[in-house]
Symmetry: C2
Subunit: 504 residues, 2 copies
């Protein structure tokens, strides 16, 4: 069997090099490409992606997986569930079977529908007119449901969609965790809304872009980002991307009139990047050298952004430096004002503007509607009303326009149904891991206050990063925290933090 | 036959998209890549290049070319030599036969030898010790000669090497043209050396990098570079590259202590870029959308850099602006001083530092030695002595070290034998085209003085650029100038220009 795995690894190595090449083209497309080059870049990317698809789904891969004893019941084959080779087979079998089960005619139909869908969505959002997007969303939704049927599932078609972003997670587990979370977030948001609002006007001043870049770069470096194998560039919609085992790039966006976007965005991307820069040498260059799920990935970015970057201790450490960079803007802002301001909670219609407390409610809203759409319990025709009702129920506010409601996110137009939950799972896993970290080092505040970030980075690397996808999200969660995912850790973290800030 | 060509165009389109993808990876490698990512980038590039090679050399391409009637005697097949389809078949047949005639074992041997050769060359140059490079050069040379035999030729194995860089050019034609050029350049350099030297000290001051960037960018834009389909970035060894039909990127290098490198380098690359941005829509996206030879490409860069950018009229137009950007550096520098300074002639050991007059002699030296090496008349063992002798003969100076002599250029270590002549051909074609342009517009000085660069760009586009590789270099030369390539135009241009500058 060893030889079969060796042959598979040679084939998936080419698959990976092609994916990295696509990532390079895509990175350039989001950062430096001249505008007239965009249409042909689409052709170049489509070719590389189809070559990668052919590599992965070649009949020989199927033969070798069968020879290794892989099946739906034992995707790790005869290598065993607990070995790295078993994990390699498990992840390859999952990716391979997903791709061969979706007929190429369906892949092409989805590509066409989402390409048209994105254009229609952009127009509809611009004109604030859901009717323009409706037929496209209906088409995308029906194809996505068809995809779920093709991939197959045990309990719920949504499981087959989740699997693309959050492997091995199930609809029922998310429902269980989100249901506990929902009531506690609503309760917390309600108690906060009864307290006097904190002031964050100091974040809205004029901040030199050049100084923001330097300040953020210094912090990113101190958090542990390895610039010998990475870069920072700028883009409209920041992201992290891996162009090679030693080539992890983060991107940011700076706004002159608002301090919050640039720095916190880059700390968030640094969290993603530290994960990608932390895989074991042993898995470098094979398909296990990747985040094990989007939820685990998001746990890393949100831990660094929110739990670390928006903590009081972090600004005890960095406020003096911030005052050096921005003396006139911050000289009269005290530590407590600063800390409270960057953690202001206030319900908003727009998810990406949401605070730590209400963010999860935005996700629960989308999860609820996606489930109903996929089940067929909700028609696209009725989406506007359903969105408003859910928003009133969860956030206590109701959008007056589609642009502030069901048209705000690009995801559905791209066919990315089953993606949203990973954002909330990130917060949940992050809090659960953080509690385990606190059990280990005890005084995390002192550690952050002293800028001892390597201690945290090394703990995360050792507990999470180095494994890449060789452990599933569930396995990692149990190994690091000793139990399955549950909402209690996030609830406790938020409760403690915001009780201090809002004083209830 | 039309259908055969259609099928070929579909196949070469994928070939081209893969080459463009490689170009994107290579551009990033020279501009933004983090250092630790370099080794894996080599793997990514090698995979894309091997996929492109497989596309081009697939048996189906051979069948279709045969079905189109292509042969060594009539590479344009039954489409005819004078049609665009014929030109397409001619260039495809040339590329295809070159690649299938070189056995893959030889391709791999050359890749290994040149990879080791480049490393050895860098070390040898650093230590100024030719002996360290000698065995590697012997290996590379023998493989390159083997390649020439595999490709085949009529008169001289060097023809088969030339063909890679300067298609359809022959050793005998270059010998004929270079022989006339040699005596005139030696004579001109000798007369200049008897005159008082011009002063260029004003170019060696401190020039803010940021201001140099802005100044050069403005000029590049005014010369006609299309930023909607292109970019400027910075790199150690500037180049121009085409990442797509509407994606042509130039690169520059600025030195704070010397004004000459940054601006003139970017004007040079702009010349290359205007060629690549000027192909007819009709050939966009197929293999004719490329420069027809390196010599023709270099004619464009050198025309803009030297004939235009180092003309007196150009600085009548731009010196006032240069004084705005660099008041303290240039306020006391008069137009004539400026013009003379940027055209200083002085023999140097290093080719890339050479002036317009002696540059050709550096190339003639290399051409002479390459011919002797390929013929076997000169042994690598005797290269140091042969170089010094040729340098004394041609340039009147003899390098005392190998680093200033036979180790100065990377080309041979890369197996690029037959490449150097294209640099001199660029000057020759450029002068011959320029004479034709002068016949059309008459007063080119006034045109340049007024900054009417679009007139020149449009004439070049109409006469040269739009054809891409649909006309060979020889065809272009005869069509534009009415005769075959000859040294007289370059000789007259240099004679007139430097008589004025040095006053003889």
């Amino acid at each position: 069997m060893r030889d079969y795995i060796g042959e598979l690894k040679g084939m998936t190595r080419e698959y990976q090099l092609l994916n990295e090449s696509s990532a390079i083209l895509a990175w350039d497309q989001e950062t430096y490409i001249p505008p007239a080059a965009l249409p042909e870049r689409g052709e170049q990317l489509a070719l590389l992606q189809s070559l990668a698809h052919k590599k992965l789904t070649s009949p020989r891969v199927g033969e070798l997986l069968a020879a290794c004893g892989c099946s739906d019941d034992a995707p790790w084959g005869s290598a065993g569930a607990d070995t790295r080779d078993g994990a390699y087979l498990r992840e390859l079998y999952r990716a391979y079977t997903r791709q061969i089960r979706i007929p190429s005619t369906l892949v092409e139909a989805i590509a066409r529908a989402t390409s048209a869908g994105q254009a229609a969505w952009a127009e509809a959002r611009g004109k604030n007119d859901f009717a323009l997007f409706k037929p496209y969303l209906e088409k995308v939704l029906s194809l996505v449901v068809e995809k779920a049927q093709a991939v197959g599932y045990q309990d719920h078609p949504y499981d087959a969609l989740l699997d693309e972003y959050e492997p091995w997670m199930t609809t029922s587990e998310i429902s269980r965790v989100f249901s506990g979370l929902e009531s506690s977030l609503k309760g917390l948001a309600s108690r906060i809304s009864e307290r006097p609002q904190v002031d964050d006007a100091f974040l809205y001043q004029s901040f030199s872009l050049e100084k923001q870049r330097k300040f953020a770069r210094q912090i990113v470096k101190e958090l542990g980002f390895d610039f010998s194998g990475g870069r920072i560039d700028e883009t409209a919609h920041p992201f992290t991307t891996t162009l090679g085992a030693r080539d992890v790039r983060i991107t940011g966006r700076f706004r002159e009139e608002y301090f919050g976007t640039g720095l916190f965005g880059l700390i968030h991307e640094t969290g993603h990047a530290l994960y990608e820069q932390g895989f074991d040498e042993e898995i470098t260059g094979n398909i296990l050298a990747t985040g094990t799920s989007l939820g685990i990935h998001e746990s890393q970015s949100r831990t660094w952004e929110n739990v670390v970057g928006r903590s009081r201790a972090f600004w005890e450490h960095y406020l003096p430096l911030a005052r050096e960079y921005f003396p006139s803007q911050f000289k009269d802002v005290g530590l407590d004002t600063f800390y409270r301001g960057i953690n202001r909670v206030s319900p908003t219609h727009i998810r990406i503007d949401a605070d730590e407390v209400t963010y999860g409610l935005h996700i629960i809203l989308r999860f609820r509607l996606e489930l109903a759409l996929v089940r067929g319990d909700l028609k696209v025709d009725d989406l506007t009303g359903a969105w408003r009702e859910a928003s009133r129920d969860l956030l206590g506010i109701e959008p007056e326009t589609s642009a502030e409601g069901e048209l705000q996110d690009i995801h559905w137009s791209m066919g990315a149904i089953g993606y949203f939950p990973t954002y909330a799972l990130g917060n949940l896993y992050g809090a659960q891991f953080w509690a385990a970290f606190e059990n280990t080092v005890h005084d995390t505040d002192t550690l952050i206050r002293n800028g001892d970030f390597p201690v945290l980075r090394n703990w995360l690397r050792d507990s999470i990063h180095r494994h890449g996808a060789s452990k599933t999200a569930g396995e990692l969660c149990r190994e690091v925290s000793g139990e399955d995912l549950k909402p209690d850790f996030l609830q406790d973290y938020l409760e403690n933090k915001y009780r201090g800030i809002y004083g209830f």
